[in-house]
């Protein structure tokens, strides 16, 4: 009876244009506006803050292509600090 109500990629698609928090397999995280993504879930973000162990380590004013290779989780709404 219970089908997959929400498709994961649908969530990502609905977040385009909005803040997205991206976590890698390591302790690294990125938070920025989601510009787009592709089939491999490589992700394009804008105005990104890069974190490691929750410490801000770098800000990126422009767009960034983040390799999907090491992305483990995506959280719509951006990083809550």
């Amino acid at each position: 009876m219970s089908l997959a109500e929400i498709l994961p990629l649908e969530i990502i698609d609905k977040t385009v244009g909005q803040p997205m928090w991206v976590m890698l397999t390591s302790h690294r995280e990125f938070s920025g506006t989601l510009i787009g993504y592709d089939d491999f879930v490589n992700v394009v973000l804008e105005d990104v803050v890069e974190y490691d162990h929750d410490q801000e380590i770098k800000r990126h004013a422009g767009k960034m292509l983040l390799s999907g290779n090491n992305i483990s989780m995506l959280v719509p709404g951006g990083k809550r600090v």
Binding site: S2, L3, A4, E5, I6, L7, P8, L9, E10, I11, I12, M23, L24, T25, S26, V41, H53, G68, N70, I71, S72, M73, L74, V75, P76, G77
Partner: protein, 111 residues
């Protein structure tokens, strides 16, 4: 050791292409709490809201268990991070299990 003679029909099907059906039907965990381990050591618990063929997951009310910064394999008890609605990449999924019927035990310390 070789089962080629015995399982000819099965082998044949294998060569025709991959089976689409997953070995575990995730829909039975819909709207229940599951525990997910990810490559690299992250551990999260959340309510399963959706998934796809590639085992990408949608979890709600997700909680990530924080780890000892000195030792990634050590979970810090009681230290969690509330993530809310998250998408988990199927490519990074290590283990998935229902929370119900399992508990975190204070196991013997590994010497």
């Amino acid at each position: 050791m070789s089962e080629s003679g015995k399982n000819q029909s099965q082998n044949k099907r294998k060569h025709e292409g991959p089976k689409r059906e997953p070995i575990v039907n995730l829909s039975k965990y819909s709207d229940t709490q599951i525990r997910v381990k990810l490559m690299g050591g992250r551990l999260v618990i959340g309510t399963l809201k959706g998934f796809d063929q590639l085992m990408n997951l949608v979890l709600d009310e997700t909680i990530e268990y924080l780890r000892d910064p000195e030792d990634d394999t050590k979970i810090l008890e009681g230290q969690t991070k509330e993530l809310g609605l998250v998408v988990i990449r199927g490519t990074m999924l290590l283990t998935l299990s229902p929370l119900d019927g399992s508990e975190i035990i204070s196991g013997p310390s590994v010497e």
